[in-house]
């Protein structure tokens, strides 16, 4: 058991609740930095993929997890970030400027789209953002002068301070670029959650009426959330472009949007951890399936086993299991396990049982 005694207001402001927690995260960081020397290039590539998914997950988490606005259109903003970055690079802008610029432009695009779209609630918002996702696919095909249409584009190798960074040529360097951006995004998102803006986000998620009554400009705050979310997702998109090498309209299709949303649901809505847990599942699932399939077919001597759609099926199965048994996702599960050990003999089975919710004020609009 651990007791944290708070001695000053800073104990609630600082990033780590207690020293051991800081050490755990430090060890995790050291592990991530040492990763290229621990695993081979193939798995390092997979780890890079997971990190890119985690950035996108954090982006969507800001909007869906913290502000409570569902978006099924975030693949569109990933596409925007990706195309903007590559187009800027083709026009001679160095990567170090083109990626942040692409992200900022994606954020602005998000804010402009958010203002009309975020007037909608719940399922209507989901439908509207779904439309954005579908529309984007078509727009990419139509605007083939810039986007290369169905042929797509090829991301040029990155050059930073004279270093050539390429996903296949120098996977270690590419991994570090991605890791750096992960840490940056993590810092931004974590800082926002402990600042007034982050509190305004969760206030809107839990009760728009009272957020408004306390001075939160709901429209503006939602649009800000959407913009931040889109900018982060745009970063992820830009990196994904370099990771994939070549991409076209099908890279960022509707399924991608849905997968992104399901990822954070499985990971655990409303927590930064959830984005990472979800990314690990999404990133490693195809490999896990490939490995299992290989071993199963070799045990039973089945030869190469064609199982189209097995990935989606496995993903759907995991999602159903989580919705049924652990709606708060992997992070919720982790919290339970941790609490069990922290309170060791005193953990009760229904400690995390959902409490009764009291009647909410009738929606006044």
């Amino acid at each position: 058991m651990r007791f944290v005694f708070k001695r000053s207001y800073d104990d609630d402001i600082k990033l780590f609740k207690h020293r051991p927690q800081f050490i755990y995260y430090l060890l995790l960081l050291i592990l991530l930095i040492a990763l290229p020397w621990l695993i081979d290039d193939f798995f390092l590539g997979e780890a890079t993929n997971v990190l890119i998914w985690a950035i996108a997950g954090m982006g969507l988490m800001v909007l869906t997890g913290f502000t409570g606005q569902v978006s099924l259109g975030h693949a569109a903003f990933m596409a925007l970030g990706c195309y903007l970055n590559v187009i800027l690079m083709q026009n001679g802008v160095p990567f170090i400027i083109s990626l942040p610029l692409a992200a900022i432009l994606t954020g602005f695009a998000g804010a402009i789209i958010a203002l009309p779209v975020l007037r909608l609630h719940g399922i209507y918002l989901a439908i509207a953002t779904l439309a954005i996702s579908i529309l984007t696919e078509d727009i990419i095909v139509i605007a083939k002068n810039w986007t290369g249409g169905v042929m797509g584009l090829v991301a040029e190798p990155i050059e930073i301070f004279g270093l050539d960074i390429d996903r296949y040529g120098t996977p270690v360097l590419f991994y570090f670029v991605v890791l750096f951006i992960v840490l940056f995004v993590l810092m931004v998102v974590r800082n926002l959650t402990r600042a007034p803006l982050g509190r305004a986000f969760t206030a809107i998620r839990d009760s728009e009426v009272s957020a408004q009554a306390l001075g939160v400009n709901v429209t503006k705050t939602k649009a800000t959330s959407f913009a931040i979310s889109c900018a982060i997702v745009g970063l992820a998109g830009g990196l994904l472009g370099h990771y994939a090498g070549a991409f076209n309209h099908e890279t960022f299709n509707l399924v991608f949007s849905i997968q992104l949303l399901l990822m954070i649901v499985i990971g655990g809505l409303g927590s930064i951890h959830g984005a990472f847990f979800g990314a690990i599942i999404v990133g490693f699932l195809p490999q896990l399936i490939a490995i299992t399939r290989g071993s199963i077919s070799s045990i039973f001597n089945l030869g190469s086993l064609p199982l189209p759609g097995i990935e989606s099926a496995a993903f759907a199965f995991i999602l159903i299991v989580f919705i049924l048994f652990e709606p708060r996702g992997i992070y919720g599960l982790w919290i339970k396990i941790r609490t069990y050990f922290e309170l060791f003999p005193f953990y009760r089975k229904n400690m995390f049982k959902r409490q009764k919710t009291y009647l909410k004020t009738e929606r006044m609009k």
Binding site: D12, P196, R205, S207, Q212, V216, Y358
Partner: protein, 258 residues
């Protein structure tokens, strides 16, 4: 000097006049209660002041300035805070975080400084926390500071809502049924706190309440509403003994001959 004034305010929902030509003023430092049977338009008056509804005619003034041009989220910036009849707390947050949201109107940091958590943001957070801690101490919420709202009993939630409104450092506090659902003891605590809010903090209180015990012990003046119309206005005794009020609550005693 009157701080909050309603002048001939009318609001109808379709054919129903929820608030019909209501006028009253609340003086600075006064405790003013609105009473009336269900559906009298009490909460609607609150929602009019919060700018959730727009009156059909009439004017609402705060410190002699009309507030009808403002958005609902600008009202707290004037120094008007409110609570809700059916508690509207942020369920997934702790009590402390809920109260800190009450500091939104004093937020000076912007997106960029908050993204990097600049030293100015940290200083500001400490100041917010200090105000919030004073409120926590005042309402004796220390034991619940880090508890999530989702696990709190009803009575405590009611107090957290009051605390959150106080954390905005308001000039006027609108309390929508502060004692509904509270036990006798909790109601007595509420009476004590409302008196303290008025006397120690000098906050003007406007409340809607059914509990006549609470109303008569804390309020200076009372407005009785029925069917959106003003029945009586005056001291608690005057209103309680007003024939129209008695009629609205318990009838006239005349038999209805069919």
């Amino acid at each position: 000097m009157s701080l909050l004034t309603l002048e001939n305010v009318t609001l109808s929902f379709g054919g129903l006049k929820a608030v019909n030509n209501v006028s009253f003023h609340v003086g600075k430092g006064e405790t003013f209660a609105i009473v009336g049977p269900n559906g009298a338009g009490k909460s609607t008056v609150f929602n009019l002041i919060s700018r959730i509804y727009n009156p059909d005619c009439g004017d609402i003034k705060f410190a002699n300035k009309s507030i009808l041009g403002l958005r609902p989220d600008q009202i707290p910036f004037l120094g008007i805070a409110r609570t809700f009849q059916n508690i509207e707390l942020f369920e997934q947050s702790t009590v402390l975080q809920n109260l800190l949201v009450g500091r939104q109107r004093h937020r000076k940091s912007n997106l960029i400084t908050e993204m990097f958590f600049a030293p100015s943001v940290r200083d500001e957070e400490r100041r917010h926390r200090q105000v919030v801690e004073e409120v926590i101490e005042f309402l004796e919420l220390q034991a619940y500071r880090d508890k999530f709202i989702a696990g709190l009993p009803y009575g405590v939630r009611k107090i957290v809502e009051l605390a959150r409104a106080l954390a905005t450092e308001p000039q006027v506090l609108l309390l929508d049924e502060p004692a509904s659902g509270l036990s006798l003891e909790e109601t007595n605590d509420m009476i004590f706190w409302i008196e303290d809010i008025k006397k120690q903090m000098g906050i003007t209180v406007l409340m809607v309440e059914h509990d006549m015990n609470l109303v008569s012990s804390v309020s200076d003046r009372v407005l009785a509403l029925a069917d959106g119309k003003e029945l009586a206005i005056g001291t608690p005794e005057q209103v309680q003994n007003h024939p129209a009020v008695i009629e609205a609550y318990i009838g006239t005693g005349k038999r209805i001959v069919s």
